[in-house]
């Protein structure tokens, strides 16, 4: 059963949740603990500012700038924090690089740990019981659910995020993009490929 099934329930359940959440917010505001505008701002940030476009920019830079790539692999928190457009990176961000021999995948089997500073809030599938349970045991089957088939000889390296370290996958740069700018390359880089559940888009898909 997918964890998000309840999101598609009939209206009565959702109405009830809406009311209950509204009531709790009302209590917290009336008691003087929080300001409504501050909550509005948090929602707005996650809906418009903190998302996978940040990670895509990081990866595109790593693909085009060998010095940055090395810094990213050595200390991703430090590397990402020097990008002027990215200002809110936490400690212990770790970048792991895919090669023709190794494909990295990130999961949190115990809850939903995710590199929010570079990818935003996790998608529902990342938090689903199916992803959390199977990725450490049969990641090729999980990849098949995403339409990804890797050669049998490719090693799959799964990182279970059981502490406050956070993993970002550096996918392989697609062939045929040699003259592409960072901005063009960023269009190839999907959220899923930075978790290891997907591969970058093909150049023909964005050209």
């Amino acid at each position: 059963m997918a964890e998000h099934d309840n999101d598609h329930d009939e209206g009565s359940h959702l109405t009830e949740m809406d009311l209950r959440v509204r009531a709790l917010e009302t209590i917290l505001v009336e008691k003087g603990y929080i300001e409504t505008a501050a909550l509005d701002r948090i929602v707005e940030l996650y809906e418009t500012k903190i998302g996978p476009h940040i990670g895509a920019q990081v990866i595109a830079k790593a693909w085009t700038d060998p010095g940055f790539r090395q810094l990213l692999l050595d200390d991703a928190s430090k590397a990402v924090s020097v990008l002027a457009e990215v200002g809110r990176v936490g400690d212990h961000l770790i970048a792991v690089e895919n090669t023709s021999q190794v494909h990295n995948m990130v999961v949190c089997t115990l809850c939903s740990c995710y590199p929010t500073d570079v990818l935003g809030l996790p998608p529902t599938w990342y938090k689903s019981f199916a992803y959390r349970s199977r990725t450490v045991k049969d990641p090729r089957a999980v990849l098949a659910d995403f339409g990804v088939a890797l050669p049998a000889e490719t090693e799959i390296r799964v990182w279970d995020s059981t502490a406050e370290t956070r993993y970002l996958v550096v996918p392989m740069r697609p062939a045929g993009t040699e003259r592409w700018s960072e901005a063009q390359l960023a269009k190839l880089i999907t959220r899923d490929c930075m978790i290891g559940a997907g591969l970058p888009k093909k150049p023909s898909e964005v050209a």
């Binding site: 309840n6 300001e35 929602v43 940030l45 996650y46 809906e47 212990h92 019981f129 990641p139």
Partner: protein, 219 residues
């Protein structure tokens, strides 16, 4: 605790179903729950570890059937009541019935947003030298605490290799049992899949966990 939240390797949950063009929040209330969770964090009534433990303490029937943000909501509400910031009769009434506790830091306001949308920092000075080094063979302990732990069941009692050393970090097992931050060295320990899942496992699969030093012993 050996709870239903510890899902690594459990069969039967079916296929992963990615949703194309998924919105950040499916319902407006989900965004409010997320925002309240972040906001309440500044009052230091809970930490990332105690809030995780509170989700794990939800009954299995709730954990397995309620949506992600509904669980967050239930957690927030019960922790707020438990910490005395709100009262159950106020939840019942749907509005405040008495003045709030006097919070020394003042109200969570716009100026605080920046801080709570940045991940927290859990690295701490090391209390002692690390017992293990990169390349060491280690065995995870076969432990089954009834309280919070970050050692997943599927990775207990298995031999792996220390791949990375991350410095000392706040130890969740101690924070959640009232023993303070009790910083411990944190390692990435990598296992070959057959060590975890038996001879039929994918021979080209390696899985790592982030293991606190007290979870490990020399082989």
């Amino acid at each position: 605790m050996d709870g239903v939240h510890d899902m690594g390797g459990v069969d039967g949950f079916g296929k992963v179903e990615p949703e194309p063009n998924e919105p950040v929040f499916h319902q407006r209330w989900e965004g409010r729950v997320l925002a309240m969770s972040r906001a309440i964090g500044v009052f230091r009534v809970w930490t990332i570890d105690t809030s995780r433990y509170a989700i794990e303490l939800l009954a299995p029937s709730i954990y397995l059937t309620r949506s992600y943000y509904e669980k967050w909501f239930l957690r927030n509400q019960s922790l707020l009541i438990e910490r005395g910031l709100i009262d159950a009769d106020e939840v019942e009434a749907g509005h405040s019935l008495r003045p709030g506790k006097n919070m020394s830091r003042g109200r969570f306001a716009l100026a605080d947003v920046e801080k709570v949308t940045r991940r927290g920092s859990y690295g701490r000075p090391a209390p002692a030298p690390a017992r293990f080094k990169v390349g060491d063979r280690v065995r995870t302990k076969n432990i089954h605490p009834t309280t919070h732990t970050r050692l997943p069941r599927y990775a207990r009692g298995h031999v792996g290799i220390v791949e990375r050393l991350h410095g000392a970090h706040v130890f969740p097992d101690s924070v959640t049992t009232g023993k303070g931050e009790d910083p411990q060295w944190l390692y990435t320990v990598r296992f070959d899949a057959p060590e975890l899942w038996g001879a039929d496992a994918d021979p080209k699969l390696k899985v790592s966990i982030e293991a606190f030093e007290p979870y490990l012993e020399h082989v």
